[in-house]
Every structure is written in C-alpha cells, then in structure tokens.
Amino acid sequence: MSDTQTKTAPASEEGTERRLNMIEAINEALDVTMSRDDNIVVMGEDVGYFGGVFRCTAGLQEKYGKSRVFDTPISECGIIAAAVGMGAYGLRPVPEIQFADYIYPGLDQLISEAARLRYRSAGEYTSPMTVRSPFGGGIFGGQTHSQSPEAIFAHVSGLKTVIPATPYDAKGLLISCIEDNDPVIFFEPKRIYNGPFSGYYDKPVQPWKRFDASIVPEGHYTIPLGKARHATEGEELTILAYGTMVHVVEAVCAEKGVEADILDLRTIVPLDIEAIEESVKKTGRCLIVHEATRTAGFGAELSALVTERCFYHLEAPVERVTGFDTPYPHSLEWAYFPGPIRIGEALEKILAE
C-alpha cells in the first residue's frame, strides 16, 4: 500500500526547499496546468483582476490573459452551465464557486447536466470541469460561509469529490482533477488555507511553513484520485477523516497519546475502500469524523461500508463524530464544531469497548 503512505516531497538542501501554504499551492496547480494546456480556463466571481477573495487565482489573469482567466456574473447556475458548454467545445474549465454555500444555484447544472453528460450521450460529449470551492467552517462565516456539502455531491452518480488536507496534496490533487476527464468537485477546507488546525480555536494558528506537508515541489506532479493518505499510523483504532478534521484528530490523538491509524481520505468519490478495509481489519475499531451535519452525512456511508465489509473484525461499534444537525451558527461556531471534546469523548468510548 505504498500509495497510502504519507508523501513528503524530497526536501532539497536545508533552508532552500519551498514551503507554501494551501492558497499558494492551489495557485501553483492552476499555473502549472494552464501553462501546459491552452484549453484550461479559470472563471468565477472576483477571480480575474483581483485574484479571488482568498487569492487562489492571484496573478493568473495577468499571466494568461483575460480570455483565459475572467470574472463572472454572480450566477452559479450560469458559471457551471457555461463550463458545461465550454467542456462540450473542448475546453477544460476550472470554475470557482466563491463559497461552497453558494453552489446550490448551480446544482441542476452539476447534477443533471455535467454529471450525466457522458452517460446520456454515450460518450459523445463529456464535461471535464473541476469546480473549486472553499468549504467548511471555523472562520466565523456564519451559516452561509461555513457549510460542508460534500455528501450532496458524493450522492450524485457521475461526480468525483476531492478534498485536500495539506498544501502538498492540494497541488497534486488539483492537477489530477484538472487533468481528469470527468467533472470533479474540489472542496478547499478554508480553515486550513494558512495553517493546519488543532481544534483549539483559542490557541494561535501555526502557519503551514512549520510543517513538512507544506514542502511543495515546483512544476508538475499528481496525486491519484481515489487514494487515501496515512496521516499517522497506529494500531489502536482507525480514524477516517478528510480536510480540516484530519489535523484536528491528529492533534487530539497526540494530546491523548492514542496511536491511531488516521486515514486522510483525500477523495470521497471514488473512495479508497482498500485502504479503509486494510486499516480497520488491522485495528478492529473505526471512528469517522467530519465537520458536516450528521444525518445522511458522508460518515453514514463510511459507517455502512465499514460495517458491511469489516464487521467480523470490529471490536467496537463504529463511531461518528460530526457537526450537529443545525445550520452553522455564527456566535456559537465553536459549540457546533466537532472539536477536541467531542472527539475525545468518542475516542474514550470506542477504546473502552
């Protein structure tokens, strides 16, 4: 399972390796792919001259021109629809939806059009778009700038859903997504754009540069879709997570001295079922952690899969730690967030069995 091992870029001489935050890594993925393929276009609200509200597209318009990097009307339906048409023409559009919370006006174009075009036309037309969108909470975004709607997309046949957790992965995964011939939803966990998150909102943010996962090679490299990454290896239990929560569970386990096999899923469709089965069969315990609401969240699917496939290896019921089934509240953000206390409680329960 070498594919699931933590990939760390070969560090060049001490002090000369490039350390990027996730925003810079995403920017570089766009830059690298655009320089290799004239058919790649980037569009979205504020992505052009200004370079995006999170700066992910900074400098691209200047470098590639206004016909390849441009602002769009505030119309997610129009953005996704135009990307479907561009894909039919032969372009490889990379639309940005400014916040995942804003993606819903584009859902019909994603679900009924982009995701089904290859199928309904028997391969005559395809929709090779990558929809980038910042998602997740922890930035005081309130109920319209904090949601994690990945389960909606995982439920749709014909869409791939990818969520990076480190700058290194963000670049390699985004390049894979852009070069993929199917429509991909690429959710960027905006809480960890600038540094990983321990789950303690009252402690200072550690910038990415202090972590080796921020060592990002120059140029082109890819991380295959559908392959999980071992964030840590351990025997006590398996933890399935993605995005921000990978770092939170890592921090909680370190604090509690729990030796967990933490799998950063990276892609939820297609899912790395082999890595999951292998880990759960090894540890006999499985905790699933996501920030999204609980009911019918992707954790439910993971729980079902683990139970169906690893039942006789389990020594404890599968546990889920998730956000609550409420809208993401503004002032009570940290009461909503599945932080160290909720995770700690679940760890104690699952390890006590």
Partner: protein, 443 residues
C-alpha cells in the same frame, strides 16, 4: 363565481384595521377552453414586408420595436415582401419544403409507432417545422446546436441518418445512446447537435458557454440554442441572456413560442404582459419577434442573427411566434384543456402550406409535385422504419449488453460500480438460468 368576502382573519391581516382595499391574486387564464368558440382577432398580424431590417451590426437600442412587432415576409398573396425577404432561389425553397415535409412525415409515423406500442414516448413538432428547418438552413453545418426536444427538423435538415433517430426512439440495439435516453433525446456530435437533456432550458446557458469557448479560441463557429416559451421561465434562461450579453457571445437564443407548455398557456411564462422577444431588450440583446409559421421570415431572422454573431457584434434573441398544433407529447391530450378550434383559427396558418403556396405562386411548384413529394416522404420514412425495426423495438428482448448500464458514468469504472455491475449480472443469471435470450447478447 361570486367573490367570497374575506374572512375576518384575512381581513385583519390584509388591512390591519384601516380602509386599505383587500388585495387579490391574478392567476392567468387562457382565452379559450374546450368547446369555446375561438376568436384570435386580438392577435396583431402586421402586413408582411412592413418591418424594417436594421444592419446586422446595429446597436440593439436602434431596433427596440422589432421585439414587439412581428417580422413577416410571406403575404396573403403568397409572395415574398420587404427587406427581410432572404431572396432564396427556387431550388433552396424546394429543399426547405422537402425537409419540412419529411419532418412532418417522420412525426406522423413515429406518433403512430408509439400508439402501436413500438416505443414509450414521442413528441411531434407539427406547425413548428419552420422554426427548426428554415432557421437551421441559415446556419453553417458546423455551427453548434443546443436544442430543446422539438427540433427534429434540424437533424433532418442536417442530414442525420433517419435510421439513427428511429433506433434511438426504439431504444433498440442500433441505438448509439445505448438505450439510456427517453425517446427523441438525440445526440450527434458529428452533426454539431448537442445531447438533448430533458431538463428544461439547461441547454441555453450551455450554448452561451460553447459560444464563449469559440470566441476564446478565435474560432469562427457560432452556437444556436432553442427553447420553448414556457421554459424561458427557468433561471437558466436568465443566466443565458446575462452571460450572452456580458461576454457579447456569438450565440443565437431561439425561443419557440408555441403558446402552450403542456396544459399551461404562455401566460404562465409572462406572455400576458410582454413578448418573449422583449426579454432580450432589458439585457441589451438584439431581439427579434418573428412569424414562426413563415419559413422565409424564420430563415431571414436566423441568417441576420448568424451574420451578427459571426461579425463579433453579439448575441440575438429571436422569438418565433407559432402554435403547437398537436399535443405536447404522446402522453398529452390537449382536448382536455384547450379549444380544438384554436388550431383551425390560428391566424398565421401552417408553415408547410405557406411555403408550398409561395412556390406555386412564383411558378416553381404545383399540387401534383407536392402530392408526389409527400408520398415519397411517407414511403421513405416507412422504409427506414422497417430497417430500424430489424434492430428491435422498445421492450422486446434485451437489446443492450448488460455491462453498458455501468459504462460512461465515469471514464473508468470505479470499484463500487464494478461491484454493482457484478450484482446486476448475477441477477440476470438468476432470472435466466437456461442462458440469456438473444443468444446471450444480453450479458
């Protein structure tokens, strides 16, 4: 029906104790229902040839009246009039008439086939043939079409093999869409005809995206999309107009106003207040309202818009004012909601008859030739239908290898679909323990 006095609670809510009048909701109602005598004299039918033809690169502000007028070429005398006359040679006119007659013959046969149980569903375009055939003839063969579900005339005009259409309608083993799509949801990349969705108006902003791509690449091809007046109610149509005008996209937005969306008349898409062409005016899009039953006007308007787009002068919205002479589909019976007289009284006539009469009026056609052409069209469709039936009809036998159900969801088959496809094959083997019918072709 007598007005019901507002209930006390309503009254209180509405006027909070003062003397403001109670509000009332307007729900549009068509003028005629089953059994009603129809009088269409309220529909303004201007004289053919009376409409100005602006330069193709003119500012939309200089042609605002054309969004409310009705561009017409063929007059009561069956002659072509005015600046919109495309001055087509008789051979081209006969070709146009031939495609329209073929489309009608095809519709007749497929409708009958559905009634005979050969397929589940069909949609005719009777009375609207000019909005597809004539308009399509004004485009280049490699201009990209983003159709709705009633533009079979475009495929016929573009020479798409009829057997492919019928194979698709029958979902038989010859169907290159592998039996996945509802009948008539064609796709032909080779004929620059986009895959028909079945979701409404989604194709309109996609057409704009395609046109934007063509402009990004410095191509010379343009895009044209068709949508019904009822579907212009979708937000997608707004997105299409907006993106078209913002990026000055080389695209033509064709709205076929056939007056009816299943049982809802055009009033539910806003027709009581304005024209559909006028929707373009607010966006600064050149907007033309055209007699959709006048084949020459349809051709001329589409040609004008194509020239405009090709000259980088921007998009055009065309409303083809027409009438859906038949039901919405084979699943619909219009006698339940509209007067049967409407079709007879429709003031703009029938497009096939109008073109035929024009050709006769200019001495280039006669009833005998028309009869022969109609007969040949019917015979041709019958012959091709027989050929297609050799590939099977819907529901008779397992026409598509079972694994094809799981193909094309993604470019490659992921593990979960692989597992599900194995399940599906096991189910077939359980159902047919003696081996699959069709010599095993179902596996």
């Amino acid at each position: 029906m007598a007005e019901r006095p507002p209930a006390e609670g309503d009254r209180n809510a509405a006027s909070a104790g003062d003397n403001r009048p109670a509000l009332s909701l307007h729900v549009p109602e068509p003028k005629y229902r089953p059994g009603d005598t129809v009088d269409f004299s309220h529909i303004q039918v201007p004289e053919a040839g009376a409409q100005a033809r602006p330069d193709e690169t003119a500012d939309p502000k200089e042609m605002l009246d054309l969004a409310h007028d009705l561009i017409r070429v063929l007059g009561e005398d069956n002659k072509a009039h005015g600046p919109w006359d495309p001055k087509l040679d008789p051979e081209t006119l006969r070709t146009m008439l031939g495609h329209m007659a073929m489309t009608r013959a095809f519709d007749e046969r497929m409708f009958r086939g559905q009634r005979q149980g050969k397929t589940s569903f069909y949609m005719k375009c009777t009375g609207e043939e000019a909005t597809s055939v004539s308009a399509s003839m004004a485009l280049a063969a490699d201009d990209m079409i983003f159709p709705s579900y009633r533009q079979q005339g475009i495929l016929i005009q573009r020479g798409y093999p009829m057997i492919e259409m019928i194979n698709q309608i029958y979902s038989n083993r010859g169907d290159k869409l592998k039996g996945r799509q509802l009948p008539i949801m064609y796709s032909s990349r080779e004929h620059s005809f986009f895959s028909i969705s079945g979701n409404l108006a989604t194709q309109t902003p996609q057409a704009v995206g395609w046109a934007m791509a063509s402009a990004i690449k410095g191509d010379s091809r343009i895009a044209a999309t068709w949508v019904g007046e009822g579907s212009t109610a979708e937000g997608d149509f707004h997105s299409a107009c907006l993106f078209a005008t913002v990026y000055n996209a080389p695209v033509i937005l064709n709205v076929v106003n056939n007056q009816w969306a299943i049982s809802s008349f055009s009033g539910f898409a806003g027709a009581e207040r304005s024209t559909f062409a006028a929707r373009g005016v607010g966006y600064g899009i050149a907007s033309l309202r055209v007699d959709g039953n006048d084949p020459l006007a349809c051709y001329a308007a589409e040609q004008w818009a194509a020239n405009r787009a090709r000259a980088n002068a921007g998009p055009t919205l065309i409303e083809f004012f027409s009438y859906r002479a038949e039901g919405h589909s084979t699943s619909d019976d219009p006698s339940g909601y509209r007067s049967a007289q409407e079709r007879e009284e429709w003031p703009l006539g029938d497009p096939v008859m109008r073109l035929k009469n024009h050709l006769i009026a200019i001495g280039e056609w006669d009833e005998e030739r028309q009869e022969k052409m109609d007969l040949e069209a019917a015979e041709y469709v019958k012959k091709v239908t027989k050929e297609a039936e050799a590939n099977g009809i819907l529901g008779h036998g397992l026409h598509h290898p079972f694994r094809t159900m799981f193909e094309d969801v993604f470019e490659e088959l992921p593990w979960h679909l692989q597992e599900q496809s194995e399940q599906a094959i096991r189910e077939r083997e359980t159902k047919f323990p003696e081996g699959l019918p069709n010599g095993g072709k179902g596996a």
